[in-house]
């Protein structure tokens, strides 16, 4: 009987993830709780799986124009916060249970992973600040070219300088050296010594992590050893570690997506994502993963410092503006002036989107950070207290 049960259960698939196993084995399982409570918990855990799946389906429903925009990224973080909150409730309800093996190992592993996520949040905050610097350069360009009666050489030079600073700021550090030298030469300054010092101003802005920190390695460490729970483990923890596994995966994905979108040190995206499609949320999550990976491989985005759509928009309209400026001859023809105004308008829109979006995004990233810490602290407190009642 048991053998058939097992087979049946696994082929009927983890549609509710081993909960079918649980329900079938309710009589046979040496459960720590009465059958009545086990059902309530089952419901809670299943609802959690459904929630995660639903939210990820919503995210995956975005079209390619929306994917990886600031507003989509904010949605992603909202999803995380929502799922995190549910998870917190589940853990809280099971707090007496957390220090019993093997649950204690799973939950502690999870807390360690979440600490790794904190560094990613911090690096992302630094990355957002970097984008803000680009926003400042755009503002200068707009100041130079917008609302002018006519666009003069002076304004164009000013815009050009800002655009060069912007380009350098968006480059990898090693490439900034040569770019900076070019820039100074083209503006007729030949104080070489000063150049070396002011080069520092384009250094990557990272305050929360050391120079050797790597986002790619951090993600690898976060996702290390993340294996779907086996049926016997599920039973031993009454399904709780399935929730933990799910939360871990959500954490990993969200951190990975942030690293993909926003500039940070050593942005490698090779983190391995493989999770059984038996999990309801696996399909939308993996689809998003694939789409983002696709985006990163596109010819024009391969060397991008971040996949955020708005970053590409900055690159594009900066490029257009540069082309325009380089092709301009004074005095401007009416046609050129019209073109210029269009470019300025384009740039103005990109600038506006970034200006409106960055602050709320940063606040959300901070919120994610704080919630992760709080949830971990609560968990550790619960475990500590549970230990004290043994």
């Amino acid at each position: 009987m048991p053998a058939t049960d097992c087979q049946e259960a696994s082929s009927a698939s983890f549609s509710s993830l081993g909960f079918s196993i649980l329900s079938r084995r309710r009589d046979q399982v040496h459960s720590m709780e009465s059958p009545h409570e086990a059902t309530a918990q089952e419901i809670e855990l299943e609802a959690f799986q459904k929630l995660v799946a639903e939210r990820f389906h919503e995210l995956a429903a975005s079209n390619s124009g929306e994917l990886l925009t600031i507003s989509w990224t904010r949605k992603l973080l909202e999803v995380f916060l929502c799922i995190q909150e549910e998870f917190r409730v589940i853990v809280f309800n099971k707090k007496g249970f957390l220090n019993k093996p093997p649950m204690d190992r799973y939950i502690n592993e999870f807390f360690e992973r979440s600490v790794k996520g904190l560094d990613v949040c911090n690096a992302i905050r630094d990355g957002i600040e970097q984008i803000r610097q680009w926003q400042n350069q755009l503002e200068i360009v707009l100041c130079a070219l917008d609302n002018q009666r006519s666009i003069g050489e002076g304004q164009v030079r000013r815009a050009k300088k800002a655009l060069i600073d912007l380009t350098i700021g968006m480059l990898d550090e090693k490439e900034s050296n040569t770019a900076l030298a070019h820039r100074n030469r083209s503006f007729g300054r030949n104080n070489v010594q000063r150049d070396r010092k002011s080069f520092g101003h384009f250094r990557s802005l990272s305050w929360s992590v050391s120079r050797s920190w790597s986002a790619a390695k951090q993600l690898q460490a976060l996702g290390n050893n993340m294996v779907a729970p086996r049926p016997n483990e599920v039973i031993a923890t009454n399904g709780l570690n399935v929730a933990v596994f799910t939360m871990s995966y959500v954490l990993l994905f969200v951190m990975w997506a942030l690293v993909a979108a926003i500039p940070c040190q050593d942005r490698g995206l090779q983190t391995h994502f493989s999770v059984s499609r038996q999990f309801l949320w696996a399909v939308p999550m993996l689809s998003l993963h694939e789409r983002i990976l696709e985006e990163s491989k596109k010819r024009d985005r391969k060397n991008a410092c971040g996949l955020l759509k708005e970053i590409r928009e900055i690159e594009e309209c900066a490029r257009h503006m540069n082309e325009l400026i380089d092709s301009v001859q004074f005095p401007l023809t009416e046609e050129k002036e019209g073109e210029a105004r269009n470019r300025v308008k384009e740039l103005g829109m990109v600038y506006g989107a970034i200006k409106d979006g960055l602050d709320p995004l940063e606040r959300q990233v901070r919120e994610v950070f704080h919630r992760i810490v709080r949830s971990r602290t609560e968990g550790l407190d619960s475990i500590g207290r549970a230990n004290s009642h043994d």
Binding site: L118, I140, V209, S210, R211, G384
Partner: protein
């Protein structure tokens, strides 16, 4: 500048005259009125009156050419303009003229001629601004290079109350040293005063020309680098939260020391200094000042706060308590500075972060105590301490708590106060000075309870219940001693101490009973209705039994320890208190026994003195040290 003002005035006067005068005659009349109004104008106006129309291209050309000449000379120069203050003023004058001309001409821009001049003027303005930006930047950088913040930093700056030595270094470049903690008006001249003045002059023009952003950016880039360099010279590493978790404890201790110094220097000296500098350079432009300040200090602040956060998120191993308390207290003491310095709109989030992290540190400290509880609880009752002496865990916990209570105020803050509810059985009459029972006191009581339970479990390992009691006596006594003189005693209260002393006395009694009641029983008088001979023989037997028991006890208990001299004496005295008289009586009875009394001495091995001597040798342990 006077010249400039005058020219301006004249230009305006002419402008007014021309606009109002519909005929040349009217214009003349108006100009005459102006001339009469102010003598200075008369000359200038009448001079140019006849031959120039301000809208005449020639006039504009003239002005423009002159400005072009003046400005281009400077803009194309390879030498820094600000290396010569006369050059600098002259350049600034020209720029001012240019800015005001542009302002004037902008109003008349419909005129094609004026528009053309305006165009060229704006070009000229842009060139000036680029040059000003360069000059600005090199002034900021140059000023910073000559100022070495940190020579002697690591040895001299002192924030403790105790060190009042006023060692001064003669070198101008070093910060005056070691002031009492209240005196943080250590003004660092972050840049030479002359430089600051220059920067202010340049900033004024750049903001006026709409180049404020560039100016602010040039400023904050350089100052930020300088600030971060200064901090890194204090030895502070940039560490991620994960990296901090991976540090060995001793390494982390070092980092914490460095961090405490760095954040104090930053919040009390460096940041206020930067604030003052921003305010002076961007005098009159508070928004630019606020923004620049934030850009300069944000990175370093984040780095400093991040480290504290990493500590708060870290392990809760009890050994960390004292260092984590240091971090907590540092944050707490610096919060007023945070409030003060980061008071503007841009920096508010930093201030809030600081508060959040401070609270988190409180949480982790509570967590550390929880870990301590678990540590005590989990300490296994395996190997018995030989001789029933002091157990290492007692020593560890009591010394730990005593050390912790030195920071009682901070801990009370962390654990919060909880007032005893009305109607509780707190008796004020008994002078219960814990009338307001604090959560900290409750926490301490709980830990003591856990320790005692653990000790009781350990005591059960001794098969001899007398040794059990000795063990409990020893450890209990140590506990009370450590509690008594100090904050811990104040927290737990006199009642607690009394109760525990009572417990110790009970163990004392238990010891006596388990060890000696049997022996004493042997010496007890019996009303025997046996024959006198039998009675005598019985006594002898009893004596022999007594001796055998006595020998055994002395042998067994010779290795037992009472660490505390007073307790040792007390115990010996109380044993002897019952044993000596009982033995004396018994010997007396024996010696006075009718038949064999005179032979009794043959069997008496020990006098009372000997017994006493043997007892007085007990509990020294095997020559091991006390405590």
């Amino acid at each position: 500048m006077a010249d400039n003002g005058e020219q301006k005035l004249i230009a305006v006067a002419r402008h007014i005259a021309n606009t109002l005068g519909h005929t040349d005659n009217m214009t003349d009349d108006i100009l005459k009125i102006f001339s009469n109004f102010d003598g200075r104008l008369r000359e200038k106006l009448t001079e140019k009156l006849s031959d120039e129309d301000p809208r005449d291209c020639a006039t504009l050309e003239h002005t423009l050419k002159s400005l072009d000449r003046q400005i281009s000379r400077y803009v194309s120069s390879d030498q820094p303009i600000w290396s010569d203050s006369a050059d600098a003023s002259s350049f600034l004058d020209s720029v001012d003229q240019l800015i005001s001309s542009i302002r004037d001409w902008t109003q008349l821009a419909d005129d094609k001629n004026i528009a053309a001049c305006l165009y060229r003027a704006e070009d000229l303005l842009q060139q000036s601004m680029f040059r000003l930006e360069d000059e600005f930047r090199s002034l900021v950088e140059r000023g910073a290079e000559s100022f070495d913040l940190t020579r002697g930093e690591s040895t001299h700056l002192d924030f403790s109350d105790e060190d009042d030595s006023g060692e001064e270094d003669g070198d101008d470049n070093e910060i005056p040293v070691a002031h009492p903690i209240t005196d943080y008006n250590i003004i660092i001249d972050a840049l030479p005063a002359g430089t600051i003045g220059d920067l202010q002059e340049i900033a004024k023009r750049m903001v006026a020309a709409g180049y404020g952003k560039e100016c602010s950016h040039a400023y904050s880039t350089c100052r930020r680098e300088f600030l971060e360099e200064s901090l890194s010279r204090l030895g502070l590493q940039k560490l991620s939260i994960d990296e901090v978790q991976k540090l060995q404890w001793t390494q982390l201790e070092d980092e914490i020391e460095k961090w405490i110094k760095a954040i104090n220097v930053a919040l009390r000296i460096l940041f206020p200094s930067e604030r003052r500098l921003c305010d002076r350079v961007f005098l009159g432009f508070s928004s630019a000042s606020d923004l620049s300040f934030m850009e300069v200090c944000r990175g370093s602040t984040i780095q400093l706060l991040n480290f504290a956060d990493a500590v708060a998120i870290g392990s809760r191993a009890p050994e960390r308590l004292f260092k984590v308390l240091d971090v907590y207290e540092t944050m707490r003491d610096l919060l007023p500075e945070f409030e003060l310095i980061f008071s503007d709109q841009y920096c508010m989030s930093l201030r809030n972060e600081a508060i959040t992290i401070w609270k988190r540190l409180g949480e982790v400290i509570r967590g550390i105590f929880m870990e301590l509880e678990n540590l005590i609880r989990r300490d296994p009752a395996k190997a018995a301490v030989p001789g029933g002496g002091l157990h290492p865990i007692t020593r560890y916990v009591m010394n730990y708590l005593r050390a912790a209570c030195r920071s009682r105020q901070t801990l009370e803050q962390i654990f919060g106060e909880s007032i005893a509810p009305p109607g509780s059985n707190v008796d004020y009459r008994k002078g219960d000075d814990r009338a307001l029972s604090s959560s900290l006191a409750v926490q301490m009581e709980w830990i003591m309870e856990l320790l005692e339970s653990n000790l009781e479990a350990k005591s059960k390992i001794y098969r001899d219940s007398a040794l059990c009691s000795v063990f409990m006596m020893n450890n209990g006594r140590y506990i009370v001693q450590k509690v008594k003189d100090g904050e811990l005693g104040a927290l737990l209260g006199d009642d607690w101490i009394k109760k525990h002393n009572a417990k110790i006395r009970q163990y004392h009694v238990n010891y006596q009973r388990s060890s000696w009641s049997k022996v004493l029983g042997v010496l007890k008088a019996e009303n025997n209705s046996t024959s006198p001979n039998g009675a005598s023989n019985g006594l002898i037997e009893k004596l022999k039994l007594f001796y055998s028991y006595f020998e055994v006890i002395c042998k067994t208990q010779s290795s037992w320890v009472i660490f505390d001299e007073q307790s040792r004496d007390e115990l010996r005295i109380s044993v002897l208190g019952t044993l000596s008289p009982a033995y004396r009586n018994f010997i007396g009875r024996l010696q006075n026994a009718p038949d064999f009394g005179k032979y009794a001495d043959r069997h008496i091995k020990y006098g009372v003195d000997d017994i006493e001597a043997r007892i007085n040798e007990l509990f020294q342990g095997s020559g091991s040290s006390r405590r």
